[in-house]
Amino acid sequence: MSNALLINLTYVAAAVLFIFGLKMLSSPATARNGNLVSACGMLLAIVVTLLDHSIVDFRWIALGLVIGGVIGAMAARLVAMTAMPEMVAIFNGFGGIASLFVGWAALHSGDVSTFTVVTIFLSILIGGLTFTGSLIAFGKLSETIPGRPYIFTGQRTFNSLLLTAIVVVGVMFCMDPANTNLLYVLIALSFLFGIMAVIPIGGADMPVVISLLNSYSGLAACAAGFAINNNILIVAGSLVGATGIILTNIMCKAMNRSLANVLFSGFGAVKTALAKVEGEVKPITPDDAYYILEAAGSVVVVPGYGMAVAQAQHVVKELQELLEHNGAEVSYAIHPVAGRMPGHMNVLLAEADVPYDLLIEMEDINPRMEMMDVAIVIGANDVVNPAAREMEDSPIYGMPIINVDYAKTVFVLKRSMAAGFAGVDNPLFFGENTRMLFGDAKESIGALVREFSS
């Protein structure tokens, strides 16, 4: 059997493992094994590639594998669960830049056809914008740069000019691939494009951006696969591309907005809420909150990004156990876009050992909300804002929300009366049945836990 045939047949096996791995990743019971299956596929593909006769020098490969492997393993081990969104973002970026390098290196592999040059152009463009876009997303998520949308006058004009420049330089590059100056300009433009695409997007829209960048990193690998005529890159890359698009779509639906709206509107910065909400806020002390909770038969916890910031997941789990011990039924209501990445809250609660079957999705919890004695909102705002349901002139009108205001009593844990990310007033805070528990979420819940324990 020829060497090339063996390699390609093994790629088929690797592709099958990726497909089964992804399939198993979509069910909680098999997810962990699914990840291992997909990792086996990857290992198989890598090992068999090393058998390729055209590889004559293993020194550089070993160097790259060791450096990359060590950095990746350290990062994966050391990262705190709360820092997971930025971790996923940065890994994504590295995948993108790697595809850029693969495309670039393909230019140096002798004569290349026009079709190959076009795919090299695509892998450089998509890889480059995935890289810088992910870096900006990383910066925003880790708050090394401000998370608010960055908007300036003439942004649209600038972006259209940038896009035109990319097309023009791209065409010139495809006609004259030996011109390295064009190549450098192209790389610079694709980097700039990634930056410009992500800076106008605010922190709360990050779930959409991360899923989209995830999709791009797959497409970049796909383009690189075309550039070097490699099937496994194309298959694996397009599987990832499809996964990313599906997640992006779920996130957009959960916000009742189109993808174009998320990418181009700079949500929250340009719109000012027309309707002012008036009313009286009723604060409550942990003491009084304890008495209400002690009498409650059913409690639903609604976490948001504030829980991640306050790192309150462990103390929330403690409160859950005390409430259950007291005879109450406790569940968690998870909004699809709560937090900064798809499924962010689920990961944090899993870290605190909360069983995943207590986590209930929005559509399933809403019909039961009226039966709930107490709803505890921890650092969530826009995803529980009744204005989305009732006030037609509200910028978030139409977004599906968790109807906590239908519960008998609502506790809102909040630092201060500042508006949520979208800059929209929240009528929930002024509701008849709402009590505000001001302060750091972790401390407030800690105070409740102490009341129960004493």
Binding site: S27, P28, G68, A227, S238, T243, D353
Partner: protein, 96 residues
């Protein structure tokens, strides 16, 4: 013909991807994303050939950079996904 054949694979794989994971519970959104992300590190396979072909110096350099970044993506991606998934538990008493 090569181009057509590769495009064929692309189109089929995209459709397969959509069918494969159209229904995912919210609990698994993050692990699915980071697991898929690790798969996108497959570009490592391409980088390996460039880094080891011993052709132009430039190609070796670019290939090595590609191998390094893609390995971070692959190793980090799979390990972090595994770490996350190991935390997901059902209620005590009914294992698995």
């Amino acid at each position: 013909m090569e181009a057509v054949y590769l495009t064929f694979i692309l189109v089929l794989a995209i459709f397969l991807g959509f069918e494969l994971i159209s229904k995912v519970p919210a609990t698994l959104h993050t692990p699915l994303m980071s697991g898929a992300n690790a798969i996108s590190g497959i570009t490592l396979v391409g980088a390996l050939t460039s880094a080891g072909a011993g052709s132009a110096e430039m190609a070796t350099l670019l290939g090595t950079l590609g191998v390094t970044f893609a390995s971070i993506n692959v190793v980090g991606g799979y390990m972090v996904t595994n770490r996350m998934l190991s935390m997901f538990k059902k209620k005590e008493g009914d294992d698995q």
